[in-house]
């Protein structure tokens, strides 16, 4: 009488435990640090932005084309808005990247979700930067 054959136990996910060795990269360290620093800076930039736009004299009612044109005539507001755009986009993109890393289980899903994320983030950053720098108050 032969022993019953027992299949190997079900293994956890498809990916194996082998790790890349010898490749040193501080990318995750810097991205972790960037999240902390940009987060602190964004608190001031975004809250300041919301305060100026929504509460100071008249709030949203006074925002129109002339208001925006007037603001962007000053390099200070150009730098403010540009910094806010870049930090917010990179902070958000990096956050989404870690969420995708945490929750997408298959390598293919990860890859494509990240591609969509990077392309859309790059598009918004480029478009925003272009508008801040090439804004023409005499348009139309």
């Amino acid at each position: 009488m032969s022993a019953p054959s027992i299949d190997a136990p079900r293994s956890f996910s498809g990916r194996s435990m082998n790790r890349r060795n010898g490749q040193r990269s501080n990318f995750e360290l810097y991205s972790w640090l960037f999240m902390r620093i940009s987060g602190i800076v964004l608190v001031f930039l975004v809250l300041g932005h919301l305060f100026i736009m929504n509460i100071l004299d008249g709030g949203v009612q006074r925002i129109n084309f002339a208001f925006v044109a007037g603001r962007w005539a000053s390099p200070f507001w150009q730098v403010w808005d540009l910094t806010m755009l870049w930090l917010a986009m990179l902070h958000g993109t990096n956050g989404m990247r870690t969420i995708i890393n945490d929750y997408a289980e298959r390598d293919q899903t990860r890859f494509w979700l990240k591609m969509i994320l990077y392309v859309s983030a790059g598009f918004i950053i480029l478009l925003g930067t272009l508008v801040v720098f090439t804004f023409d108050p005499n348009i139309g």
């Binding site: 136990p9 956890f12 435990m17 790790r19 990269s25 972790w32 870690t98 945490d102 289980e105």
Partner: protein
């Protein structure tokens, strides 16, 4: 004679009362079951009984096929980590009186490691991560002719992380580990912390290479599940944060 007997009657209030407790156990026997399923077992237990006692009783009296790991039964060997009422604990350190016995008590295997049978999981991925952080003393220079001395303050720096019993309760409570088995997990980082902050050890550079990896400490989201789960009361998340700080400043 009758009067003497009456004197030693124990009042009923003092006597411990056994009551029926229902355990809802997640069973999986690979030879018969396609998928794990829940089964109920009801047994009489004293409030001071441990969940491990309950499992022993169920195995001995109700269903001999129930499988689980146990060894010392006193919270030292770390064999019987399991999910009791949805929380990772040691079955031998969980008393019935600390659980709500009006509802069935759920018992299942720890999550995130391959399930082999009932409460038994394949611990190999867990120990593979443990081995990668080099959990041993890496000294520098010549071996001294006497013991390596250390001040009480230096010893206190890593005292918390010496308590680890490798039960895997922390690693298998980590949501990042559940979805990504590549992450080293809290237990391996605790093991690394034990040596990184040891003044006699100089293997920081080698361990740094491992912990600074894509799947190293930066995957930690500080959800504190590991600290809550640790049956030894190690502040696991704090240890992970200390390793992060050491990595950023390149200094222990």
């Amino acid at each position: 004679m009758a009067a003497v007997v009456e004197e030693v009657v124990v009042t009923e209030v003092d006597a411990p009362v056994a009551s029926d407790v229902t355990f809802r156990i997640r069973r999986f026997i690979p030879e018969f079951d396609e998928e794990p399923h829940w089964e109920d077992y009801t047994i009489a237990l004293y409030p001071t009984d441990r969940v491990l006692t309950a499992l022993d009783k169920i195995k001995g009296e109700l269903d001999g096929t129930l499988s689980f790991r146990r060894s010392c039964g006193h919270g030292i060997c770390g064999s019987d980590a399991m999910r009791i009422n949805g929380r990772n604990r040691l079955a031998c350190k969980t008393l019935v009186k600390d659980l709500d016995i009006k509802k069935p008590i759920t018992v299942e295997a720890i999550k995130g490691l391959p399930l082999e049978k009932d409460m038994i999981v394949d611990m190999e991925p867990f120990f593979a991560a443990y081995r990668q952080v080099l959990p041993f003393l890496i000294p520098e220079g010549h071996d001294p002719t006497r013991e390596r001395l250390q001040s009480a303050e230096d010893r206190a720096r890593f005292d918390d992380t010496t308590k680890c019993i490798l039960c895997a309760a922390c690693t298998t409570s980590c949501p990042v580990y559940w979805t990504d088995g590549q992450y080293f997990g809290p237990a391996a980082i605790v093991a690394a912390h034990r040596f990184i902050f040891d003044s006699r050890d100089s293997g920081f550079e080698q361990r740094l290479e491992v912990l600074n990896d894509k799947e190293g400490v930066w995957r930690c989201r500080t959800t504190f599940n590991c600290t809550d789960a640790c049956p030894r009361g190690i502040e696991v998340t704090k240890a992970i944060q200390e390793v992060k700080r050491a990595l950023i400043f390149r200094r222990v």
